[in-house]
Symmetry: C2
Subunit: 309 residues, 2 copies
């Protein structure tokens, strides 16, 4: 089993899409620069969705145009349908992500399509992307629970994953979109999938709403998964609910993995700096547990106190 | 492997010992009642240390006397030496805990003894307790890192564990006293120990300083460990450093384990109530991730908003 882990930073997309205050293109690009400086090489940077529905993502083309040109930087765009795909392709994107949610309700609320309609759309986008030589990742969204219909049966997750793989998806992200999961579910979902397809095509997209994300990521590691989404400072979630966290914080995940002997190519102090940039961009106080700990150590240093044990 | 997990609540001892404001005996007993009502049946309730050094623990005898008499309630006292042991025994305690820290510096700062002196003290207390028919648990404290001397070698943890077992300890708690660990270290420490002694005598005592506690607990679960310490609301830690968390929150641990199919006999809503009692007792805002999530849901309910996804 390899010790290399690939972190896909989704803060610019999943983290910013629900922000209550507008975040300027310039701020987004500053954040991207800080993330790249920290060693991030996979960025889900934009989403080509309806700008009326998600105004925070309306400047996707400008964000893509403003990103630095770095040979090993992988930039992806989320595309909900063919229209979004064509916009992403026109901007020269080499990697796209499609989203297949686990229930009719969730697909209808997100994309105004039933599950079957979304599946057909995914099939169409994936086929076109393969023809165009564009990498496609398929999200199985609500893979643990649907926010409207409750717990998602494991068999259904397996079936939707299989569908996306058969359509030609290069990578599958099992997404606990609302942070409702536990580590045993990761074993139950990933175990059979890894046995059938190998671990390399799977990614875990975890939210930390109930503090379970790192334990679930560790369960993923034990299943052989080496690809994870995360969001700088834990950016994201529901901005109107205090305590409802967003994606697992990149710094928490990177800390756990690096301390456990895995290589991510990412520098923790660089992530600390990126959290500061993200705080400036959003006007929020951010940071997962590791940054909260770093902040407390910084404060003690300022006060000339010894590090707190 | 059994699905039953034993949670040892240490909030009354480890959680309260460093509180900046005095907590009355009455408040402690109210908290104990709330914890017992939630289904907690193992309480490390008091510590018979020097009351001048740790004034918050000066009322140990009164706390013990005030606890309800429940047949299956296991109440333990931490005892640093023979003097503490004799005080605990005089109060009729059926279970004590001794502490062996991993370095000279840590033992000297905690107990004013070198590692070898502490080891000799542990041996003496354990021998006496066995003679008196009292259950003894040995903490290997600073098992991941010493707050003064840095990382603890795994071999040393194995050696100290072996010593305590040879002295006659009934249970060993591997304690990441400062929350410096990662899940791989749990595998490295527990793997060989479980192979040699079986999993049943081991407990994990984790702090959540850097957000790693649940992932480490899950690593413990995969090694067969079924005994964990935790503290209601994450009570504890260094009260003078914002963001420096205490013990892993009981509610976070119980949530993870129960959702993952393990039985703890503990009710989550009961723990939510106990957090309120702990907040009243300490004047602090408390709660691990799960209680923060429950608080946000309660707030939305008050405002007649639908649960936040």
């Amino acid at each position: 089993m390899t010790n290399r882990v690939y972190i896909n930073e989704v803060g610019l997309r999943d983290g910013l899409q629900n922000q209550p205050n507008p975040v300027s293109t310039e701020s987004k690009l500053k954040l991207a620069d800080a993330l790249i400086a920290a060693g991030i090489r996979q960025l889900e940077a934009v989403s080509f969705v309806n700008p009326k529905a998600v105004p925070q993502m309306a400047d996707g083309a400008q964000v893509l145009a403003g990103l630095p040109t770095i040979a090993d930087l992988n930039v992806a765009a989320l595309v909900p349908n063919m229209k979004g795909y064509e916009r992403a392709k026109a901007e020269g994107v080499k990697s796209v992500a499609v989203v297949l949610a686990s229930t009719d309700t969730f697909n209808l609320r997100n994309l105004n399509m039933t599950l079957e309609q979304t599946k057909a759309t995914c099939q169409q986008v994936i086929a076109q992307a393969k023809q165009d030589g564009i990498f496609v990742r398929g999200y199985v969204s609500g893979a643990i629970a649907c926010p409207y219909d409750g717990t998602t049966p494991v068999d259904l997750v397996h079936k939707l994953t299989q569908d996306l793989i058969e359509f030609g998806a290069d990578e599958i992200s099992i997404a606990d979109t609302i942070g409702a999961g536990n580590p045993q579910q990761i074993n139950d979902i990933l175990g059979p999938l890894v046995q059938q397809y190998g671990a390399d095509i799977f990614n875990l997209h975890l939210h930390d709403t109930r503090g379970q994300a790192l334990a679930m990521a560790w369960a993923g590691i034990t299943q052989g998964v080496r690809r994870f989404d995360s969001s700088i400072g834990g950016l994201g979630g529901c901005p109107f609910a205090p305590g409802a966290s967003g994606n697992v914080a990149t710094e928490d995940l990177v800390y756990m993995l690096q301390e456990s002997g895995f290589e991510t190519g990412i520098d923790l102090q660089g992530l600390r700096n990126a959290v500061i940039v993200a705080e400036q961009a959003t006007g929020q106080s951010l940071g997962g547990s590791v940054v909260q700990w770093m902040k407390s150590q910084e404060l003690r240093k300022q006060k000339n106190q010894s590090p707190c044990i």
